[in-house]
Symmetry: C2
Subunit: 317 residues, 2 copies
């Protein structure tokens, strides 16, 4: 059951463990386990769930149950489900469900775009226009959003000109994208860079919410999130336990840990609506159903300070 | 051999592994090993070394060789040595050496000050005046600096009023302290808090360099460092490999990792003069001589991005 993202002034923290978190794991939870995980996170206050990618079940069995997960999220009051769609077929499949948002992924460099989704940047942008048209003909009225990968540096092409990212973001906005995610897919970003690019994208795309998607590969994930907060970003991606290792830095952490993001936001004066101790219970459950994965993140182990008031009580930003 | 800190406009990164890093370790390196560590760090470009605390050798054998380390650092061109002194006797001992800086530690709360150094805040501030007088009568002319512990929250007293920290910093400055460190001793700080307090302290103490001393206990260490950089702080503490666990959060990391701090600064446009691959060699040596310690930090494992230019080439701040 969706809330209108575009009118939302407070923070939106998007939990992507069941999508970005499962792209590289050795094993994956059963559908029952995924549903229990979502329910535990929901009890902790999480409202945005990216539950998978519309991909062939044979090659990507971890996402075969995406329809069931979308249906489950829809039963929970005030939630928002999203799913990744990389081509027209995926889009058509997504539009048959009650998903609240379809995410179209493209890249800031042609090299990464070809390697990742086997199409050019231009072709990916056209997919957004197509998605908007298709969306307008179905009942569910899901948001159509885009995610610009390797926006802060590319594992294949190296340096990424911020002008290119801004141009792609503006094109996506002009073609109808209703939310624009700027992603540090390979953990190359530093906070000054995140601040500068976030400011520019926010300014250039007008009223469309800008999302920052961060990986903590090089220890700058939380600093980058803070820089984005300072730049005015109010929508963030993360995965519970930092699930989702980065293939380019074996042993290093992948996605920024959702629970660390919650702690950062609260400690910085932005209420999240999320109860950290309850979120730690969900994380513990995730650890149990994926015993071979090493979870990342710091706050679940260190715990928030016991004798100071670290939670945000009013909206500062 | 000292450089004048007060005229230094670029960054100063202070490596404290042999002091703050050794306060809680099960074992400690031999003097020969410590000297080799300093020499490896020096080759990597490190210039500021806090080499120990003037404490009774019987109770604190890890600092018994402090005089030899100060003498060794003095043989290296362009370096700066410092040592902690908690009382008059330690001060007298320090002033008999060629140490370039004596650090007087006090706390932002009476409770922590009594527990940590067994004196009141007022008495600790008076020690600074005494140190200045004593320093003026010896040849070496070391700087006298102060470090305000638990400035962002206290493990004993809880919330710390920023007004108190500012008042203590100003008093220290008025009594002659030549550098003022603001310390997140127990890792309670968030970046907004660090930004706000750093700004205020810098404004209130005038030309005196303000140092930020951070612990990464709750995953916000690097974000806090970035916030301090943005607030105008140019002097930072860290320990190689994040050596120095926090007793209040077992299993969690302690001091912010020096090498992660270097990466953050370079990635944020601030040249450090430090060669990270060479610094990783020093870290590797530290791991070898302290095999029972788990080193922290991220960048030594993940390594900086290979195909982008992440180093700072000109001074931005």
């Amino acid at each position: 059951m969706s809330v209108n993202q575009n009118k939302q002034k407070t923070l939106e923290l998007r939990e992507l463990a069941l999508r970005d978190g499962l792209q590289l794991t050795q094993s994956f939870p059963t559908t029952e386990e995924k549903i229990k995980l979502i329910s535990l996170e929901y009890l902790a206050g999480v409202r945005y769930f990216e539950v998978g990618s519309f991909l062939p079940a044979k090659t990507f069995p971890q996402f075969a149950d995406i329809g069931q997960l979308i249906a489950y999220v829809e039963t929970l009051e005030g939630t928002h489900s999203s799913a990744l769609t990389l081509n027209v077929r995926a889009l058509d499949d997504a539009l048959q469900t009650q998903v609240n948002e379809v995410v179209i992924s493209l890249s800031a460099t042609e090299e990464h775009c070809q390697a990742n989704i086997k199409r050019s940047i231009e072709s990916a942008i056209n997919l957004i226009r197509l998605a908007i048209n298709k969306r307008n003909n179905v009942d569910g009225n899901p948001l159509v959003s885009c995610a610009i990968s390797v926006a802060f540096g590319c594992s294949i092409a190296g340096h990424v000109d911020p002008d290119n990212v801004v141009r792609i973001a503006v094109q996506c906005a002009e073609f109808g994208a209703e939310k624009i995610a700027v992603a540090d897919t390979v953990g190359f970003a530093g906070p000054s860079q995140v601040y500068a690019l976030s400011k520019r994208v926010i300014r250039e795309v007008g009223d469309i919410p800008v999302v920052i998607h961060l990986h903590d590969t090089r220890g700058t994930g939380i600093a980058n999130a803070y820089a984005a907060l300072e730049a005015g970003v109010r929508v963030f991606d993360g995965t519970l336990g930092g699930l989702g290792g980065c293939p380019f830095a074996p042993g290093a952490s992948g996605n920024v840990a959702f629970e660390d993001l919650v702690y950062l936001c609260e400690r910085s004066g932005f209420p999240t609506g999320i109860d950290l101790p309850k979120l730690f219970e969900a994380r513990q459950y995730l650890a149990e159903v994926l015993p071979n994965e090493t979870l990342g993140g710091v706050i679940a182990q260190a715990l928030p300070p016991k004798n100071i008031d670290w939670q945000a009580h009013h909206f500062l930003g």
